[in-house]
Structures are given as C-alpha cells and as structure tokens.
Symmetry: C2
Subunit: 157 residues, 2 copies
C-alpha cells in the first residue's frame, strides 16, 4: 500500500483492494517466472481437471477469464507444451483441455504457490478477521453486481 492517488483522510476501498491485489499478483508472477510461467497460466493449470480434462466452456468461469482471453492463454499454453486441446466428441464446436505430463508438473507447482500463500495468510491473520475480510469482499461484489451503482448517471459531461 505504498501508493495513493489523492489526498483523503482515509484510503479509499478501491485503492486498498487494488494495492493488495497488485501485490499478490506481482508475487505470484515472480514465483511463476522462476519456472518460466505466469500467474494466469498457473490459474488455468490449477483449474484443469488432471484426470478428465476440462472443457474450455467450463474453464473460463472457473478461473474468472473471458472466453477470448482464455482462448489466447490456452494457445500459448499449448505452444509451451503444457496442455493439449482435443476436440469434444460430444460437441463439434467444443474443445477439451488436457494436461500434458509437463502441464501436470507445473500444475503441482502453481497449486503449491497458491496454497502456501493461503497458509501463510492464515498463520498471520486470525480466523475471525479473515472471515470479516471475505464477507466484506463478497458484499462489495454484490453491491457492484446489484447494479445499484450507476455512478456516472448524473455526471453527463
């Protein structure tokens, strides 16, 4: 939380969220880069079922990525030999993503990064505060999705 855009008594919530997520993201990317990977690739690997594979359709929502972003990420992952895209026998349009042995190896690594960070947080912050944190985060998302916030409605330039 080193930055701050404009002077206020309190830091704004968006600022706190952004700074914190950017910090985690940067750390994740640093970890991933040790293996020549990236955070988003790691999330994709984690989200793929190691046994049965996962359809592209299911993968996007699972990891919070739009279909277009996912398609490009998968292309890059295929080129790196992490996954294979096989046609879905039940749907001529669809693909099923399968991990290669290398992908499986990298999946374990990515999963460890996520789990160890989570453990470190749980060791540092008491359960009750973490629960509050999650609840507040959830409420913020609900607030946004409730579409009650049409912020610029009265702000016609």
């Amino acid at each position: 939380m080193e930055f701050q855009y404009f002077k206020m008594k309190e830091k704004t919530i968006d600022y706190v969220l952004r700074a914190t997520w950017m910090g985690v993201q940067k750390m994740y990317n640093e970890e991933a880069s040790k293996k020549g990977s990236t955070m988003a690739t790691g999330f994709a690997l984690i989200s793929i079922d190691p046994e049965k594979g996962t359809s592209s359709t299911a993968l996007g929502p699972k990891m919070g990525m739009e279909a277009t972003s996912l398609s490009r990420t998968l292309k890059s992952m295929e080129e790196k030999g992490l996954i294979e895209r096989k046609p879905n026998p039940l749907d001529g349009r669809g693909v099923i993503i399968h991990l290669t042995p290398f992908g499986l190896e990298m999946r374990e690594f990515s999963k460890n990064v996520v789990l160890r960070f989570d453990e470190a947080v749980k060791e540092t912050i008491n359960m009750e505060d973490l629960e509050t944190f999650k609840t507040v985060a959830h409420t913020i998302l609900e607030l946004i999705n409730s579409k009650k916030i049409y912020i610029s409605e009265n702000n016609i330039l």
Copy 2:
C-alpha cells in the same frame, strides 16, 4: 466471486482478492468508457495536481504504476488532449504533467466515480468491518513485502 479454480472447503484469499478487485476494475472501466476513457487514465488524472502539475517521477508511486507503464499511459493521454508534458526547468531529464481544461473536466468525473463508489461501500458495510478489511489487506501486503514468503524455494522442479 462467481469463479473458483479448484475445490477447497474455503475460497482462498487470493481468489477473493482477485475476484473483488476484478469486479471493481470492470465497473470502473465501464464507467470510464462512457466518456471514452479508461480506469488507469482516470487514476492518473486524479493523481495529477490540478494547480501545480505533477512530475512523472512523483506520479508513478502516487498511482501505483511503474515508470514504463506510466510513460505509455501519459503518451496516450497527451494524444487525447488530457494532459501536457512540459520540461522540468529544474531537471533536464524530467517532465511535469499538467492537466488541460479537458483533462481537468475528466479529472472531476473520475474523482466522482471513485468517491461515489467509496460512499456506496461505506453506506453498505459498517465501519468496524471496513476497518478490519483494511487492516487485513495491509497485513497481507506486509506479509508479501516482508519477503518471508519465498514460496517456491523448496519446489525445484
């Protein structure tokens, strides 16, 4: 918080953070796009001193952007007529960013987006929980910055 990468009893903290920030970011970008702008541009506008202007060196840390990213954002902002980059009379290497009248107008808009969201959050969530939220966020960042988390140290592939 619609997504989730892998099955656990509890959602991981990184997941909660990511989903929440992505939600806010998306909403901000939607708001900004109504004026043909973007979130990062809005943050930059907010961070620039409307009277004295702001040096590029100071602006980066203020809005949490690396010098290289900032440089490109400023270039685009200059092309859109939001700012002017004037040479710093005290340092031949430096530039001072000044808002144009259009930039000032857009700054007000961006500031409102941020402030209204913050107000909406404060109206929805009680002060105590918000404080806990901020404290937890701060602790997470400290944890990361303390460099105690060398997650992949024992994970040589």
